[in-house]
Symmetry: C2
Subunit: 182 residues, 2 copies
Amino acid sequence: MQKAPLSRETLLPLMAAHVLEHGLGRASLRPLAKAAGTSDRMLIYHFGNKEALIRELLEYIAGVYSTALEMALGDDRPTTRQQCFARIADQGRQPTMRRFMVLWWEIVAGAARGIPGYSEAAQEMITKQLAWLEAQMPEDDPDPAGGARYLLTMMEGTLMLGTVGHARTASEGLLASDLSRP
Amino acid sequence: MQKAPLSRETLLPLMAAHVLEHGLGRASLRPLAKAAGTSDRMLIYHFGNKEALIRELLEYIAGVYSTALEMALGDDRPTTRQQCFARIADQGRQPTMRRFMVLWWEIVAGAARGIPGYSEAAQEMITKQLAWLEAQMPEDDPDPAGGARYLLTMMEGTLMLGTVGHARTASEGLLASDLSRP
DNA sequence: AATACGATGTAGCAATCGCTACAAGAGGAA
DNA sequence: TTCCTCTTGTAGCGATTGCTACATCGTATT
């Protein structure tokens, strides 16, 4: 069988899949290389060192996340903010997005610690999510930009509470917000 | 100099300080032991293995967090939800709490991954924060329980956006919520 | 005094970490 | 051909990982 040239573009999606399943914290060169069908030797050869590799990998994952969001853009807009929030929540429950979420908190933790590459990826993912949300806002919304930011904040808080086992707290909080009053 | 008996109770605060500064991800036995003035040998002796150590350490940290919250309880209550939110935000800007925040996202990430001990600590910290918030709600609030959960959700979303460099997004979101309308 | 037991130091083990030195092959350029 | 550069495999380095075997103290009990 002939050997395809293994470049960064070939390796990144395979490593991204590995990281999505096993996390970033324990992503060391040899397992990553095995998942990508190469050796640690070649990863260093292609990316220079691990830090640069992780940086490129996070960048790539942020890109994948963006396109996943764009593909999830329905052509019918919700008519109220409540409906809009519900739609994001539904979308966040998709298994594809759930796998992103587990990785997401690791990225946030890395960004908080200042690990190089993490903050950039986190910012891009939030920026993309915000743009997606603005495009989903009701047409007659009096303040789509602010509303999208409001929904985003509530959404992220809800997601966090959900992942630490306080989903009920979040849903009860939602009931007490104006997002539950038409 | 005489040698104090080094028990778990003596070791935990020293290790907690180390973890608060250097993070959980790279908290290995030998640095932890050095920070606590012992050897890795003794940490295993006292706690059995690393997993149990981390579990107890997180439990201890959650306790410290709780008492820190209780000490931050002012005796005058805010009169509006907006004021209440502002007070939590101020408190979150304290340097003591900032150091907790960096660790917090690591705990959330661990909880999302299902690492033993993380979810329990995260749940307790949220529960305590929720109780603290309920005690801080305005006296005449029509729904203190729901309101506290609402504020908590917004707060956590705001904090997250802040740590990934989207503080402005969060503050603009706050302006578009009913927390900015009297 | 003899014994038992808890506490601790020393040394080390197998595994894994990121990374590198060296050589070998392949393919194009001269 | 002869060279040169790009790509890859093999082997290994020193450091660190969690953890353990063994010996040695001091103290308490018998």
